[in-house]
Symmetry: C2
């Protein structure tokens, strides 16, 4: 694929985005329904092609974790369709009047949500991103350019073709959804140059991918870096709840961004809680790495180094630190954390309030598992990523977050004096 | 000033921002009042030092336009104080519950506005930015690092010292407001490296300054590029209103970002309107540069080149193009415009609606001067800049736009299943 053809795709998306900006809510929701129907009609084909790509991935010696991410079975397929249907049911993110004002001269001014325009999604392996991303983008009136991993290129192509047909059947422009079908890094390099036509890029994958993209383009990038998540067990934490929350936060799934990486235990309850935690984590085969205090209370625990406090393990390892009071916990989180998801276990409203106010993170959990942070439990229906940025969008990226706004002023010949 | 001292300032601001995040609305508003009081008490000193800096600027051969921007007289000073008082009266941008949801398991989730953290403002000459920026940042609970032009360094220092004293008297942290007092480019270079401590940079000045900063840092930058503003006179435009709006949009002030640069006249009314416009602009000493059609209707008008359609003149020059209908006008604007401010003059609600929907600009004006786009007439009280970005903030940057949000989830031992 030449520069020229990537540019053509980008220009076509820009043109489609102009038309999409006026597409009604019912047209966009009808498109989502038609996309789900069209996908259902290619279900067998998708499963077969996906099975071939899985064989190929195994032949090429890909890891089982990677093969698992690549796999679509009937259940995954049902889930993909259900997400499209769910996003269709969400309130319209567009044309919401966000604020308004009549100036002293009678000029009517309002601020109205509108699509961002053209969104590029660059992702690895998981083919469900193809349908999730297209769904969220169409819901929010954006044209989308998909660029999935080469190991899923055939699966993604069938999924996309079906969605394009569905969107067309509902009267949306032909190029509302596009996918780049050529493998290789070069074509991604070309895409990064399209700042004239693409409004935002969302990379989904490892830190390396995100960094490469963010540093290689002038297009704004919504970034998803580390999730170094903390849970602070306050002095008054209910022991049973504290252990259950710590275990669920760490063990429910260890390879995900909202899994617990560092447990902070108040010195006032450390002697009571640490042995309980030690047993519970041992049962779940989690390696603990402790500060000096932790080592004293749990002899034999691996010592934690400075590096541990900075680590997103994404593995069955947990660093544990004893802290003197909530302020030390908050300071540790703001210093070592990544601003993704951090929680407290306490019965005290004032501690909860202080934690909520002072922890500078996208998600603050009070007596709830860190694993509950995300679009699903926040009621966003479907998301296209999670942002660790502070500007524009923080946390889950759903349809609302793929909008910008315009100011509209209605006058009757109003001049500036 | 060494790297070390810029770093110390940045770290102090970060620490102050942690405290500011919990400062109450009344504490922040009291600080704004105390800042205005403290400024009043140094009024004479400010005027004297400013007068000395004006003499110096003239001695160094600075342009009169630059000297004008640098000048503070009693009236400017009153205006600066009035803006601080106005921003104090605005609704609190913080702790607003933006959306909320209870999940099926009873987890309470809400999205709450919070300060961005530390904001760096890099600006040229105008000392009123010093007080405007500090006011908007304190209102929104952000720590601010100011870096003004070297020609106003003494004036800015006195203004800042007074504001720091005022903020301190209201109980805000000592480093909530800081200014970098060392002249030279080097120190700005150091500031750009402080991505660990600074959340966003807002450059205010020429395109060169903004580009240099945006390309030289990993800190997110709120950018204010071109204002290539258009006014489209539709076929049914009231002739008198059309001429008045075109003249006001262009002539009320030619050197500003929301001044008109290109006038689009519908072919259906061009023969009637162009002669009227020609006379009106001639009276205002505006040079017209016309398309072929315009040249036919107004013999002797300078021909417009392709470059003219891309130009932000900021000067008494106006490009004029005859277009066949609203779609051609919209396409021209979306192609050549800069997405800043674009307007239509029409009596038709359906044309107005189409223009509002399809013009991809921060501000869309219906029967109103392009000069009315901005924080003042939009009811924002005081702004720290205007954004031509689409992400995070589009158009005027007021206190609301200097916030981000966090998700807060209150549970009672809620786990992920």
């Amino acid at each position: 694929m030449t520069t020229n053809s990537v540019q053509v795709i980008a220009q076509q998306s820009r043109a489609a985005s102009r038309q999409l900006a006026s597409a009604s809510e019912s047209a966009r929701n009808r498109a989502l329904a038609k996309m789900a129907e069209a996908l259902e009609s290619v279900r067998q084909q998708v499963l077969e092609v996906n099975a071939q790509e899985i064989v190929k991935a195994r032949d090429e010696g890909q890891s089982e974790a990677m093969v698992k991410r690549l796999t679509i079975d009937d259940k995954t397929f049902d889930y993909m369709l259900s997400r499209l249907k769910k996003v269709a049911q969400l309130p319209d993110p567009l044309n919401r009047i966000l604020t308004g004002h009549t100036n002293p001269a009678g000029l009517r001014v309002y601020k109205k949500s509108v699509p961002l325009g053209v969104i590029g999604i660059i992702y690895e392996s998981r083919p469900n991103v193809t349908t999730d991303a297209a769904g969220v983008c169409i819901k929010s009136g954006n044209a989308v350019i998909l660029r999935g991993g080469s190991e899923a290129i055939q699966t993604n192509a069938i999924l996309t073709d079906a969605m394009i047909a569905g969107a067309l059947a509902a009267g949306l422009p032909e190029h509302a959804i596009q996918i780049i079908r050529t493998p290789g890094h070069e074509v991604v390099g070309e895409l990064l140059k399209m700042d004239e036509y693409i409004d935002v890029l969302i990379p989904r994958g490892g830190k390396g991918l995100i960094k490469r993209i963010a540093e290689g383009t002038r297009i704004p990038v919504i970034k998803h870096y580390d999730g170094i998540c903390h849970l602070y067990l306050a002095a008054d934490a209910d022991p049973e709840q504290a252990v259950a929350l710590a275990v669920n936060s760490k063990c429910q799934s260890v390879q995900v961004c909202n899994a617990l990486e560092t447990l902070l235990v108040d010195s006032a309850c450390a002697a009571q809680l640490l042995p309980l935690l030690h047993t519970a984590f041992a049962e779940n085969r989690i390696e603990l790495r402790g500060c000096e205090q932790t080592q004293k209370l749990l002899p034999g625990v691996v010592p934690a180094t400075e590096e541990d406090w900075h680590s997103e393990y994404l593995a069955p390892i947990l660093s544990v630190k004893v802290v003197d009071g909530i302020q030390q916990a908050i300071d540790h989180i703001n210093h070592y954390g990544s601003g993704h998801t951090d929680g407290i276990v306490t019965q005290s409203l004032s501690l909860a309030r202080q934690f909520e106010e002072q922890v500078d993170s996208a998600s603050v959990m009070i007596n709830a598992s860190t694993r509950l942070s995300g679009g699903g439990d926040y009621g966003l229906g479907s998301v296209v990523g999670i942002s660790t940025d502070k500007l524009h969008v923080r946390g889950p990226v759903g349809p609302d977050e793929l909008t910008t706004y315009k100011w509209v002023a209605y006058g009757d010949g109003h001049l500036r004096g």
